[in-house]
Subunit: 225 residues, 8 copies
């Protein structure tokens, strides 16, 4: 292997080879890193000619990145920093990824998914607040959902929505449990277990609140079509 494949910053070894292996550059997961560290990693990626995506970023992290990359943008609800080179004409996928939420409180996770997916060049459709307590809202949007190639379903509390959607459509569903809820929800455990135990075929699950992971899974499914 080639030593140029990563840059060693001491506290981090930035994986510049990832874009070759995975189709997109290393992404920065911010929690546990100082703003200074985040900025240095972002700069290392950006200078290499790659675009920057930093998730779970707060305003301090954004301020630090903004100093070293002028073009950095902050997506507030998604808590994401992006920085794209102007010459990167992102190839837009014609296939649609639809991102559905059960409720309004699931928006931050859904937006993490949407912003990440758009960063990766996906064609995103949002359908929010169509949870099972008013299932007509879902049924009303079925035609739209059926036009998509991959569906991401984001839900907290009892996490029943992927099962219901999975019973109605034949697209691959990526289920994202959220920590939305209280009491016996146990910070997303309830929704997670529901989704893992779904009796509906064609559903796979990512970590609680992992909107980014769902976007990458959708990207990975779509990229070589």
């Amino acid at each position: 292997m080639n030593p140029k494949h990563y840059e060693d910053l001491g506290f981090a070894k930035v994986d510049h080879h990832r874009i070759k292996r995975k189709g997109f550059p290393e992404v920065i997961y911010c929690p546990g890193k100082t703003p200074a560290q985040i900025a240095k990693i972002a700069k290392s990626i950006y200078q290499k000619g790659h675009n920057v995506l930093a998730t779970r970023a707060d305003k301090k992290a954004y301020a630090a990145v903004k100093k070293v990359i002028k073009k950095a943008k902050y997506h507030k609800i998604a808590k994401i920093i992006t920085a794209k080179h102007s010459n990167t004409a992102t190839q837009q996928h014609s296939n649609i990824v639809t991102i559905i939420t059960a409720g309004t409180a699931d928006l931050p996770v859904a937006e993490e998914s949407c912003v990440s997916a758009e960063f990766l060049g996906l064609n995103v459709e949002r359908i929010y607040d169509v949870g099972v307590s008013g299932v007509h809202r879902l049924v009303k949007n079925l035609d739209k959902i059926n036009k998509s190639r991959v569906v991401i379903v984001v839900a907290g509390m009892e996490g029943a929505l992927p099962s219901v959607v999975g019973g109605l459509i034949d697209k691959p569903i990526i289920a994202v449990p959220t920590s939305v809820g209280y009491g016996a929800n146990f910070k997303g455990l309830s929704a997670l277990l529901s989704m893992l135990n779904t009796c509906a075929p064609g559903v796979a699950v990512v970590n609680i609140d992992n909107g980014f992971g769902a976007a990458v899974m959708a990207f990975t499914i779509l990229r070589t079509i």
Copy 2:
């Protein structure tokens, strides 16, 4: 309090006062009791002029009870022993209790509920195998469900059915999680948490596999109407 309120068998104090307090006689929960003990308790209840219901009973328990009470009957799927005095003209409730299952594997729990409810004089309607992976089966039966006064929903795996039913009807729903499933189902925990975290209003939950408890809750709701 009156010493005649219970009979002391040493290993058990049979609560003959319960029918006054609760509207139905003491019920025998069989696990952990020997067939001989079960038979003695059953006899004590029956001789007092009350009807006998014994849940989670195996064939040995039934054989022991049959010896002391000729009229005893065994409900195989429900694993229930009943013995009714011929002169007890059970007053039939006109209100219907509908008992719904998500799948076929939920039948033993549902039948525990049905047989118990019928023992308590309820008017039971069964709708089985209408889980969310084929929701048209549920929708097809909605009119029937809407004619009932109380609905018991029995489901394992992700336990999503009470949420979906709860979004569609305005009757009180008693949700019964079952241990049907595998892996991250953790013996019914998944369905239990789903039901407790339901976003649908008008749902309350009993213990995992507790078909009997759901029947009694329905009885308690209906008895004084």
Copy 3:
């Protein structure tokens, strides 16, 4: 289905059809929603001629709602916002719902239940602090409890109160475990498991701290009598 059944605010699809299906309008669960979002949903409901109930609301949410609905009121202990149209002559139920707590620390959950039940037109009786460590306080209030049609029992710590009440009365009991306690209480898990495993018949359980859910269950039981 009719597109007018819900209003699409983008971040939310307000379910104006719910009052038909469930007998009461959509209720706003505030956590995870911004004050602005809460106010917009409240306004959408109120303008449709329906009354507004928002649970787990903090003062910021109230301030935002107050700006768009003059009549909004804040119930501090219950953390609930209500807004009623003056022309909505709520039909008062003659049946009584009694709401019992084991201790004083259970009050916020009990008040969420009381305020919700009153919003739904129920006739509420409060009996607070009658936990099992001084059971004479409960016994002293039994006559009052027996006059009610449905009983809501709110308890934290070991959650034994529903079992004791359930052994004494023949009314349906909705048990609400609270997160009151510490250590091996594990944020309400102890009370929740106790209530699910109750040996007393006629008890069903809602989520930890879910005072609102208990009120709706009571309403659903009572509404068609």
Copy 4:
């Protein structure tokens, strides 16, 4: 320390010094030991002039012990083997230990407690099947309970009985959760958590199904009075 304080059998070091430190000889916990090992340990204790108590013993273990100690007796429900030297005039305590169960299914654990306590010379009173679903059975026995010096309360399912008893009497209560129950009982976890979170003062808890441990705790409390 003195090498004679224990006998080394290779697979076990029999603690002959324990009677001095604790007031009673080493007790054999059978699970995980072969019948041959149990018999050798029993013989080692017996030959030293001490009495033998072996808990959780099955019939094979008893058969093996019986071969080496003629006087060995088997207590079937308690699953205990005892062997006492005829010359050991056990000093009988005048203080009474009352052992209470919530239900009949708790008997094996309660009997482990009773037989152990009697082996240790305690004066045991049994009150069985007085659980909270028929609390008049408990109240009827309160006078008897108040005559005891220590109370052991054995309960499964929701484990509420120690809280209720603890609210009524001023004796030290040793609470024994049992694995009796099903579903969200999680093999005794429910009763265990209830007892640990009791709001009644004067209650301490031993391991699930640990009838023996409760007996020894009672013995330890009483021995130096």
Copy 5:
């Protein structure tokens, strides 16, 4: 909806509409169903002209199905019954699904996946026993893996294999945790949590031991390409 969409057997409502909605007929999950019930459901599906797949089937279930469907076959390691109509010329996908296991003990789950995938017409490649304790076995097979369109990774114990594979390839990975292991594995919990928390992008997870679910997810990804 059309009443012909399902056949009502009483204990089951066979969903004959599923092949339209999902692209494959209803599949029979055997646990909790009697052999007679399984045979009746199988017959109902087969007579409708659809092919039969029954998972987690034991030999008794197979014997019962064999009686009503001559062509039924039993896949012993996978514990699957299949029955195909001779005139169903399954269209073979040219895209390859590679199914990888960490160890030999993961074979039953992997074979459930393989047989299911082949039933659904997928082109399956097996690579077994390439776990991380001898990672050269994996590296040696990377070229083969890279020729596939979707990769299913089956692993128990620490469940690290999907993370390692996910770091090396750019195909969508469906991770299947197995209950293989002992102690702090807690019946697959360890592998499940590992896979959900993977830092490798492009991985989604199905239930513990759910080989069938992984196959359907792969099918759903591939079917519309």
Copy 6:
């Protein structure tokens, strides 16, 4: 029962009968109660001529109580408020209760125990920081411990100290697990499970961090000697 047995403050029913049933007045558990509520309950108890003990009290609660009861004192480490009538000549027990901690971080829990025990008239001996990582510190204090009648052992982390003490002495041991520790300590679960599973005889356990409960158990053991 007599209506004078409790005073009804609306939010609380102060149990003035408790001193008769339990030997000490109602104790105020502060969390979840407002300072105003705490002060009112304290006043109700104090005016009845009883002494006041309020646990888990912060400074605000103390300020509120101080306003209504001049003699109120705050025990900072123990987080306890006490208020004693000058004419209550607490009868001092001659029997010693020794309170032992494994480490310095266990002090707040231990002091809750000590202050409570002293309030109840017990004769308290403190032995702090004698955990098993330097067992000679424990051995050095064995003579002192052996002079006590009851021993309370407070420990966090692995909670091994009660087992070691229980192997060395013949006094009843009340084990108090603390939430001291981190990681797989899971807020005291580790110490709790250790203590429940102790192989040392004569140990019973109270809730995590429940110093008060241990003191009352000790009082209950000692009061009738």
Copy 7:
């Protein structure tokens, strides 16, 4: 990498390179493998000139291995199959590994450790049944323990022994929690958490019941001295 590094049996890829990387050949973990598979893997290893170690082996596995390798031996308590080439003069380590158990029931795990360690050429000393309820048995053996270079401590129930040993000696301790115990032991969880939370320095932990893992850790520590 070299294709000869492993032999592909289809269901297994036998890692013949492991002896180079790790210092000992691939070891067969039997559960989940058929006797036939175990025998084939064993033969593949043996024919390559390496010695065979198969753990958690039952008698059927042994019978199958014995057929293909004459020299195979079965260690009954340890449930291990070994087969050594006569010309492999195992170099005996002069450093001693002492393997300590808390109780007799821990023997199977301890013997798995001992037999594995001896297979790896270590010099093993056994000290069994020196648990903390009779700590003089441990103290009596301290000199022997201090002569060892690495200490393996095997304990179930509360798992306190590694903490006590770790407070007394300065050797590296490998702690092995066992599933010995009942109730709140939760199949070894109690001992596992105790050992992970030990306040004694110089202790690291392996999986529940993982005697083999402890032996290999000891081997890895000792091999390059």
Copy 8:
């Protein structure tokens, strides 16, 4: 034993004998101790001529220690206070301990390990951010790792790194799970279980985030070589 072996500060018994038993002085674990207590313990150790190490220390603790020991230093990332006597010429071990992290967010735990190890005189090599999602970064550093005598691997999330490293090298590995991650990571549980269930031989585990414990284990392994 000698009373001079510890100094009794009331709230703490400082174990001055530990350096004899364990090879290094008592270490101060700061959480739960007041700055004043920490300073007093530090002073007691320092005045005895020993060096001071205080872990999990915040700035207030440092300020308090700095007042009583001029030479005290604060290691910010590691949150450690050290104070060394100038005349303590720490004997430098020639053997290398390599401390590896999976990601940048694991640095605080890794630095706790490094600073502790250096305090104990070990020769530390740092290799950070070589997690399995870019395994070439690890492979690139294998030669360096193979020069070490003991390897500490620090990882959060799925905790797969110790398994991968353990498959490649023959040195003892001390695995440190971190609480880095979110959702189903459950504060380090995921990484902890992964590491305990590793299929790679030669790995043992310490508590979540316990960098110090790993350093001491390494020291204990190395000190007598």
